[in-house]
């Protein structure tokens, strides 16, 4: 054979083998935990979410259903392009069927688009922006744990009702922060309050001094922190340094997790009012889960995000088992919406047509150091907001999937 002939033969053989490989049906359900492993939100999601996903798979017991399930993880570093690249590669090359977690709304929005394009499933336990079930809703996406509307209505309303009627916002300048500021502003105004001003800061800011100065100058009673993770912690710490609270103003942490409270210490954080949809110390089932979870995360406590990962993965696997297939993302999501949810952590609940998972929300107040009896005993329950009221009404979302 001539050299050219040999080359042509080799190429043809290669092409055949590649084509053959793709024709195979893949019988493994692959779950990709895409999260922030090393920066701003790594304590809230990160390795903790991976641990939760693995616990969920364990509890589901794939062998009993005749299924094989694999969990992989990746770090999106809070950057939409890195997250999008990884998701694309996972879907195209690594045969991942579902992506879960994704704290950071800007990345989540990108993942939602790609998931729709590739007809896979996205279960966002981490992202906050209510746009994911609003104008950007998708038949392949379910927003699981919380969203900015719920936070605004939980924390925002409670604070305004107790006298915090003038606000100044410190907002993280991206999808999530802007959504949170927007949703909270609506609530404040609807309840007779006033917004005196706002300032946008870049994501992952280490020095809040000039922003805090502006907040102090506004003389607003409440400084609303429309940010999360490390940014919230820094703002509160530096606020103490600059005498914000001794000057009579209060911080309202619009999205605060138990990990932030642990980072701040009860001494600094006491009295802070916040809304979460899950707390490790509320039921025996929660405590049992936390104990198992802590095997891989000693000394830390799970926030509602890993709990949401656990819950979403279990429900997904149940839907796949019922359908006996994982290839059609839309079909799986439709099944998940059809089946009522029931798991050890969130109890009974349901998923709405716009992709919104519904469950109760809780208004917590951070305990004072004297009130805390053991590590992690950080919250006392102030109020329970039933699922029907906690989330934005279906008709108000502007989701194209719903008639209006």
């Amino acid at each position: 054979m001539t050299p050219t002939g040999r080359l042509a033969f080799a190429v043809a053989a290669l092409m055949c083998s590649v084509a053959a490989a793709q024709a195979q049906e893949d019988d493994v359900v692959k779950i990709g935990v895409l999260t922030d492993m090393s920066s701003l939100y790594s304590d809230i999601g990160g390795p903790g979410s991976v641990a939760a996903a693995k616990l969920a798979v364990e509890d589901f017991n794939p062998a009993a259903h005749g299924m094989k399930v694999e969990v992989i993880s990746g770090d999106h570093q809070n950057k939409p392009d890195i997250g999008a690249n990884l998701a694309r590669q996972w879907y195209d090359v690594d045969h991942v069927d579902v992506i879960v977690d994704v704290p950071t709304s800007s990345v989540a929005l990108a993942i939602s688009e790609i998931t729709r394009e590739k007809n896979k499933v996205f279960l966002g336990s981490g992202p906050a922006s209510s746009d994911l079930t609003g104008p950007k809703c998708s038949p392949n996406t379910i927003q699981w744990t919380y969203d900015t509307w719920m936070l605004a209505n939980g924390t925002g309303k409670a604070v305004v009702k107790t006298g915090g009627d003038t606000w100044f916002f410190l907002t993280a300048d991206y999808a999530f922060g802007q959504a949170l500021e927007r949703d909270t502003t609506k609530v404040v105004l609807a309840n007779g309050g006033k917004v005196l001003g706002s300032v946008r800061h870049p994501l992952q800011t280490s020095d809040f001094s000039s922003f805090l100065l502006q907040a102090q100058a506004s003389k607003a009673k409440i400084i609303g922190l429309a940010n999360a993770g490390g940014d919230t912690v820094n703002a509160i710490k530096q606020g103490a340094e600059f005498g914000v609270t001794s000057g009579g103003q209060h911080f309202a942490g619009l999205l605060v997790f138990i990990n932030d409270i642990e980072a701040l210490s009860l001494k600094t954080a006491q009295g802070l009012v916040l809304t979460e949809t899950w707390y490790w110390d509320m039921t025996d089932a929660n405590r049992a889960f936390t104990k198992r979870w802590q095997a891989s995360r000693p000394g830390k406590f799970p926030s509602m995000v890993p709990a949401g990962v656990y819950s979403s993965v279990i429900h997904y696997l149940k839907a796949v088992a019922a359908l006996k297939s994982d290839t059609d993302g839309r079909a799986v999501v439709a099944k998940m919406k059809e089946m009522p949810t029931d798991d050890a952590l969130f109890g009974k609940g349901s998923i709405r047509a716009d992709g919104r998972k519904l469950h109760d929300a809780y208004l917590f107040e951070v305990k004072a150091p004297e009130e805390s009896k053991y590590p992690g005993d950080d919250y006392k329950l102030r109020a329970t907001i039933p699922a029907a009221e906690a989330f934005r009404p279906l008709k108000d979302g502007g989701c194209p999937l719903i008639g209006g």
Partner: protein
Amino acid sequence: MFEVFGIPSQALFGQLLLGLINGSFYALLSLGLAVIFGMLDIINFTHGAQYMMGAFAAYLLLHHIGIGYWQALVIAPILIGLTGVLIERLFLKHLRNLDPLYGLLLTFGLGLVIEGLFRNYYGSSGLPYQVPEALQGGRNLGFMFLPNYRAWVIVLSLAVCFATWFAIERTRLGSYLRAATENPVLVRAFGINVPRMVTLTYGFGVGLAALAGVMAAPIYNVSPQMGSDLIIVVFAVVVIGGMGSIMGAILTGFALGIIEGLTKVFYPEASNTVIFVIMAIVLLIRPSGLFGRSA
């Protein structure tokens, strides 16, 4: 309360003071860079990483050995300065006769290596470092509440800057250094160990960066990327001040900190870019910088 161009004076003075505090860091860091460039013709892109290492040294000294802030102020710069000496001996020495852009590329690469190693080990969220007891709290100045620690930053950096300037411009050692830059061969002929002076000078510049890092630790989170974004601004400061001029670097550092603070009051959207705009303008009108020797 009076108003200046519609901005209440309270906000103005507050941001000016914050600008002065930021300026202190700019001044300290650009001083180190100016010393290194002025004396050695090396553009030290590793400066940001060395600043970061100073902050980490303070953190590690506290958490692993129990050595507090005040001792760290002295120990960390010496430690990191020694790493600087190592860098000079191992790498920079070989580039003495090449185009300075090679030095830039090498120090840039070293900076990436250092930042990458720290990021690998510590992740990129910040590590906490407490303000030392003696400097906690603050005083209400009427127009703003000034934390004591931030006031200390201004005082210390002014002192260090002045001391360095004095040492280089007014002492005999300083004059040896300056002579060695002009004409190393001749100075060597006088029996002065020029290579050793070069190495120690680099180490000193690096030590200055590390000192700034220790000072920054309680205010900014100690994180692996704390240096990389700051360093570009500092380069702009050095270029504006004049690449070889010590006094130029110091004055420009403080001045630009204040200008940045003013911009935050009047036109906050431009506050990130104002220093670069000034740099571009200065380079076009006076290429050697405001105080520099001729290009």
